[in-house]
Amino acid sequence: MVTAFQEEPDFLDPHRTTRFHSLVVLSYVTEPLLDIDPNFNPVPLLVQSFEWSEDKLTLVFHLKRGILFHNGQEMTSRDVKASYERYFRLSPLENYLGPKYGGITEIQTPDDYTVIFKFANPKPLALFHIADAHASIMPADWLAGMVDEEVGVKGLVGTGPYVFDRWIRGDRIVLKRFEAYNHAPDYMNHAGPAYATELVMRIIPEGATRLAEILAGNIDYTFDVPLMGYQQIAANPTLQVKMAPTYSVQYLVCNMKREIFNDKRIRLAIAHAINKEEIVRSAWFGIALPLYGLVGPGTTGYWKGVEEIAYAYDLEKAIAYLEQAGWTTVDRDGVRMKDGRRLELTLISFSNVDQWKAAAQVVQTQLARVGIKVNLELAEVGATYDRARAANYDLGIFRNTWWMGQPYLTFLTHSVNIGSSNFGQWKNDVIDTLLNLSSNALDDALRREAFIVAQALVVESAVWIPLAVNVNVMAARRDVGGLDKLFSHPWQPPLMRALVLYKQ
């Protein structure tokens, strides 16, 4: 099987990487203890079963027996302990399970097949975090013989359906089938081993080149489909295309450190002036979906009710809000004025992705319709993030990607993240409290309810204005099977790609 990647992974160490493409490759090679099924439930992957204590401070895992690492060694509780200790020590994303965050303070291994996690405080979302591919298990002895920086650079050993073979940087990554793999979760209906004997992941950064390779039939399947070539691929009888919303979302944000946005009517005017459908059509060629809340439909905890409460496109309302706020006169350029000041805002975003650039241009046009002049200041990722963290902008278009709704919404909107990922630069005590509850409340219903209300308040605030949710587009040759099965899962996880796709 040959697949194509737009972006090259940085390094293949589950405990240290934060890159999406690294995680995709890693998910073929290394595995966490649990997996997430199509209904967003954590299910056993490397474990036979697990149980919580009454007080939710002890979590016991019974490991599956006979699970082999790629080096032939059997996985035991020692490997789990060593992997978790390394994960807590190194992972930049680990901010929930570890001892520093009041999570697992002790890992006991009473025998080879039992692991006991002792928590300092109850962590109701622990199972989701344990199912995260970053918390993958690697052999303790192998890890002990490696310097941290060498893992995923010099080699990689896991329990996954493919064995890491070689990586020619800038060109390809080659994985070989692990013949002993036999423990895929039940929902996949295929325990293993994988169907394809070899998986070649080619790095093809240029969209036009990827498109030519897909059309020529040199790529068996890819999720990195260049959107500008979608029609050509869809019309090609030798290819098949599948689509599903993903958890990658784009949003417009108002910088609340700018005085003008303290008047909610301005934010409401902007929210009503934005036509999401038009943005999806123009910037994403129609291959995306309008987004109504900040948490997308492919994310755990998504609340469909946001579709009802989101501010609808309504130019009259937008204009009315601006006039109520005192922006009543219009200069000869059509820009609204108040006390001799023009309603002129800067919008920052990334220049390196065509869709973001185009989305910024459409937002500029849409806001001009109500008399708001937007000056685009697009730059590459590093420079844009610098400005965002320094709060040096009025409006911004950003993107974020994570399948776990609660930590994701916390990153974007909780006040502890002002200066890092809360680009609204806004502290709202109610939202903070709700997010804390949605993370820590022991009562499942209360936790869910808190997360729903948090999503509603974020939309209602109009500080963050959701724009579009990306659609996962998969192009594959006609002789590639298993696509329907793969798309029965909301985010087509890489482990499932490894196990259900086959060539006829």
């Binding site: 800038g170 080619r202 240029e206 590093g382 610098d386 963290r389 990153f411």
Partner: protein
């Protein structure tokens, strides 16, 4: 001059790289807390003043260590060595192609100025130079890779001495080698026209020397100086790679390594590549200077 040049170039690049963008933020992405970012920054010494960071880097380099990439966590020296081979597989054949076509075409044009041969040669040269590398690459790919299916569309099939490697290099080599033909043709033509009107050429002809010898020995050798200068200027490019062509053809060369490192603010890699190219530039200039002596024995360096 080698040492001050290298220190100057690397110091300027190092300073410019620090103007904007945080390598740790770019490495970690947006969903990582400030605390973790600060920890990592301290671990890599990025919390120190720029001049201290530069001094630390320079001290390492003097000991033969180019450091560790922030972004891909591999040795910078190894990353450069892995990429320089594939780049040379493209740039050397491309340069040979350019010279092999441009110099004869320039000489022929000069020998038959303003004839149909000269006009056709100029037209063809203009045709290639008018094409952006990106567009030419895509067109070649579409015709030979997608339509005719006789050559691979992209990727490096292997080392150049293997059939797969050779086939995969043809389109990128053409993309790199064809556009500069115009420049070399025009330069050769004008240099030849100038030389061929010199008195010593008339003398040689009047002595009955064969026209081929007049053109090649007396004419071309004297017209070679500007061509060699231009070739010398292109030598660093041989190692620096060709970003656009490498990107279009998904070729794992130096150009892509450098651009990715700049985008990720991977200081050690950028510094390593810049140092590598700077050394080669200085060496290339030295080679050109020696070539002058060889071509024109009147030139002597004390």
């Amino acid at each position: 001059m080698l040492v001050p040049t290298l220190v100057g170039v690397t110091a300027i690049v190092f300073s410019l790289m620090h103007v904007s963008g945080d390598p740790i933020r770019l490495l970690f992405g947006p969903n990582v807390s400030e605390e973790k970012v600060l920890e990592k920054r301290a671990e890599l010494g990025l919390d120190k003043p720029i001049y201290v960071q530069y001094w630390n880097w320079l001290s390492q380099v003097v000991q033969g260590n180019l450091g560790l990439s922030i972004h891909v966590q591999d040795r910078v020296g190894r990353l450069i060595l892995d990429r320089v081979g594939p780049t040379l597989e493209l740039t050397i054949p491309a340069l040979i192609l350019t010279v092999a076509i441009a110099i004869p075409a320039g000489i022929i044009s000069a020998m038959r100025p303003y004839t149909i041969i000269d006009n056709v040669s100029r037209l063809i040269a203009l045709f290639w130079v008018s094409m952006p590398y990106f567009w030419l690459g895509i067109m070649l790919m579409m015709v030979f890779g997608l339509r005719l299916r006789i050559l691979p569309i992209s990727g490096r099939g292997g080392p150049l001495w293997t059939l797969a490697g050779l086939k995969s290099a043809i389109l990128p080599v053409l993309t790199l080698g064809l556009p500069p033909i115009a420049l070399f043709t025009r330069l050769t033509r004008s240099a030849m026209l100038e030389v061929m009107s010199e008195d010593y050429i008339r003398t040689a002809r009047s002595k009955g020397v064969r026209e081929t010898i007049v053109v090649v020995h007396h004419g071309f050798r004297n017209a070679l100086l500007p061509v060699v200068t231009l070739l010398g200027l292109r030598l660093p490019w041989l190692f620096g790679g060709a970003v656009i062509t490498e990107t279009v053809f998904a070729w794992p060369g130096m150009g892509r390594l450098l651009v990715n490192a700049v985008m990720e603010r991977d200081y050690p890699v950028v510094q390593g590549v810049v140092l590598f190219i700077a050394v080669l530039t200085v060496v290339a200039n030295l080679v050109v200077d020696f070539a002058y002596v060889f071509i024109d024995p009147r030139i002597r360096y004390s």
